[in-house]
């Protein structure tokens, strides 16, 4: 293990570490603590310029209630869910199929198709923006969640395919060979033998895609203009304009908007990290 375990170091070093750890954590998360504290402040504190001192009163839920019931944040959150969940299912579903084909079959264009997905996944969004916006308008899906979902599914399919293909490649190939010899149809091999083994990869991709799409801001602003269909990232920006200097509301709104991915992360931490660090260990 590197660095050397702290338990093997001197008494002084151990205690220093014990102190340094929480201090570093507090400094690292200082901006978030500030946001949380502000979300609990009464409006009067903000108006009086009391941003960082003791709150004159702690409002545990009033600001949150104000944001949820008296602003558009509630509907924005629902829009976000309506965009995120179908995208997650679509992209991961498609990637199961493409990843399987690229991992299991040998054919001439295999590496070419694989590289197309990888390269596409890295391109800047701006090179896609004008044509995708135009296509979405042509399809009559501008200002509709489906316009966003279709694009996100297609784009995320690149990353998901890369992930799935590498995951399936690492599975024992004998399983598939044995099933072929038994005369199983290709689709049966996929759905009965490989798919159940892909569960961890599916879980990892689902949490990752959920987070990516929930946090997407660029495409939401490009493909959606109407307030009524805006997801929460775009919505927050609009609200920030309305709530000039009403930081207690901006803070409460930010916290609410951040909750679903944070919850996802903590619930599925192992899968989330496995997904993000794909390739970080093998040479």
């Amino acid at each position: 293990m590197f660095p050397e375990p702290i338990q093997k170091r001197s008494w002084l070093a151990q205690n220093l570490y014990r102190v340094a750890l929480p201090v570093a954590l507090i400094i690292w998360l200082l901006p978030l603590f500030a946001v949380m504290l502000t979300a609990l402040r009464p409006a009067g504190d903000i108006n009086a310029g009391n941003y960082w001192g003791m709150p004159s009163d702690i409002l545990w839920y009033e600001n949150f209630a104000e944001v949820i019931f008296n602003s558009e944040v509630g509907p924005y959150m629902i829009n976000s869910i309506k965009i995120t969940v179908p995208t997650m299912l679509g992209a991961v579903g498609i990637a199961c199929l493409t990843g399987y084909a690229l991992a299991v079959y040998r054919f001439k264009l295999n590496l070419f198709v694989f590289f197309m997905f990888i390269a596409g996944n890295f391109v800047p969004f701006q090179i896609l923006m004008v044509p995708v916006r135009d296509l979405t308008i042509q399809l009559g899906l501008f200002n509709s969640m489906w316009g966003l979902v279709l694009f996100h599914v297609a784009f995320q399919a690149g990353f998901c395919t890369l992930f799935m293909r590498n995951f399936i490649k690492a599975l024992p190939y004998d399983l598939i060979e044995a099933a072929r010899i038994d005369g199983a149809a290709e689709w049966t091999i996929f759905s009965r033998i490989v798919l159940p083994l892909m569960r961890p990869a599916i879980a990892a991709l689902c949490v990752l895609i959920f987070t990516f799409i929930w946090n997407d801001f660029f495409w939401a602003t490009v493909l959606i203009q109407s307030e009524a269909d805006m997801p929460v990232t775009g919505g927050l920006k609009a609200l920030n304009g309305q709530w000039v200097a009403r930081w207690h509301l901006v803070s409460a709104g930010s916290i609410i908007a951040a909750l679903p991915p944070v919850f996802m992360f903590f619930a599925m931490q192992k899968h989330f990290i496995a997904g993000l660090t794909l390739g970080a260990t093998k040479g």
Binding site: M1, F2, I6, Q7, L21, A24, W28, L29, P31, L32, G49, Y51, W52, I94, L97, T98, A101, L102, V104, F107, N110, V113, F115, I118, F122, V123, P124, F125, Q126, I127, M129, V130, P131, V132, L135, F151, A154, F155, G158, T211, W214, N215, F217, F218, T233, L236, K237, N240, S254, A257, A258, F265, F266, I273, L276, T277, A280, T281, K282, G283
Partner: protein, 294 residues
């Protein structure tokens, strides 16, 4: 039509891949070609596009804001790279087994999970000249308040600092995973050879962390060139366009309130795309070598 078994075999992978390939061609590959083409046109998004040859690119050459955006993109690329050593440093700091360390690691990773919109709002407020925490802290040291996001010289650095926060968290998690798989035998062997501290890190541990470093650099380059959200939230390119980057400038031109300039925007996007292609080509080349080896 009857297919032979062999033909069926050949067809199977394509049937599996059909939905993915069709979607990807329609929404990613074809639009890239379209944008490259559009960069030679003048188009307001409504009337038919007019072919104008290299005009857009010639205009870019003389456009001062484009030069600023390009320069800022270089600054982003260079400074964003700090996330890699920072992430390594944090990972080394946290790679211990003490009580509660798992929770501490998750909390350190937190900034990456939340949306950049929220990160942007939080930092805009942190930098606020009147009541921002930053100015209160520098006030303790007797310095005059600075309005980072309104200062032409500081604004880009202020936004990059905000971006480094989640990006460092990402690099940290890559290195933590990498450190997990550093072989203890090699570390022991290094110790016997007299390697300690820095020399151990540099000569023994870092070579083993190469895959993690590679991915950290790749995601950081992409992150730097994709920087859009923070600029849209914090400054919208201002003051006086001094925090522009290509990604935001393209968006601003293509969907400008003064009339859409889709062709000009596409030319900016093409420049950004070509910069990115250098890195993509490098990445694919490495992937190709790895594939050949296995």
């Amino acid at each position: 039509m009857m297919l032979t078994t062999q033909q069926k075999r050949a067809l199977t992978p394509w049937l599996f891949m059909a939905p993915g390939i069709v979607m990807f061609l329609v929404y990613v590959i074809w639009p890239i070609g379209q944008s490259l083409r559009l960069s030679f046109y003048q188009w307001d998004g409504l009337s038919p596009p007019t072919f104008i040859g290299w005009e857009n690119y010639i205009e870019l050459w003389y456009d001062p804001t484009f030069v600023v955006a390009l320069k800022n993109n270089v600054i982003w690329l260079v400074l964003y790279m700090l996330a890699v050593p920072f992430g390594l440093f944090v990972a080394l700091f946290l790679n211990q087994t003490v009580t509660g360390i798992r929770l501490v690691k998750s909390l350190f990773f937190f900034p990456f999970v939340i949306s950049q919109v929220v990160v942007g709002l939080v930092f805009a407020w942190f930098y606020d000249p009147n009541n921002g925490l930053l100015n209160i802290v520098i006030g303790w040291f007797g310095m005059d308040p600075v309005s980072i996001l309104a200062d032409e010289d500081l604004v880009t650095y202020g936004i990059i600092a905000a971006g480094l926060w989640p990006q460092t968290a990402y690099c940290m998690i890559l290195y933590l995973t990498g450190l997990n798989s550093v072989s203890p035998d090699v570390v022991e062997a290094g110790k016997i050879d007299g390697a300690r501290g820095w020399s151990m890190l540099w000569h023994v541990v870092l070579p083993q962390l190469r895959p993690a470093t590679f991915i950290a650099v790749v995601v950081t380059v992409i992150g730097a060139l994709r920087s859009f959200d923070l600029i849209a939230i914090m400054t919208q390119g201002g003051p006086y366009q001094q925090s522009q980057v290509l990604a935001y400038y393209m968006y601003e031109n293509a969907l400008s309130e003064y009339g859409y300039r889709m062709g000009y925007g596409s030319a900016i996007a093409t420049v950004l795309f070509l910069i990115m292609m250098v890195y993509i080509a490098g990445f694919l080349y490495k992937m190709y070598r790895d594939e050949q080896r296995s």
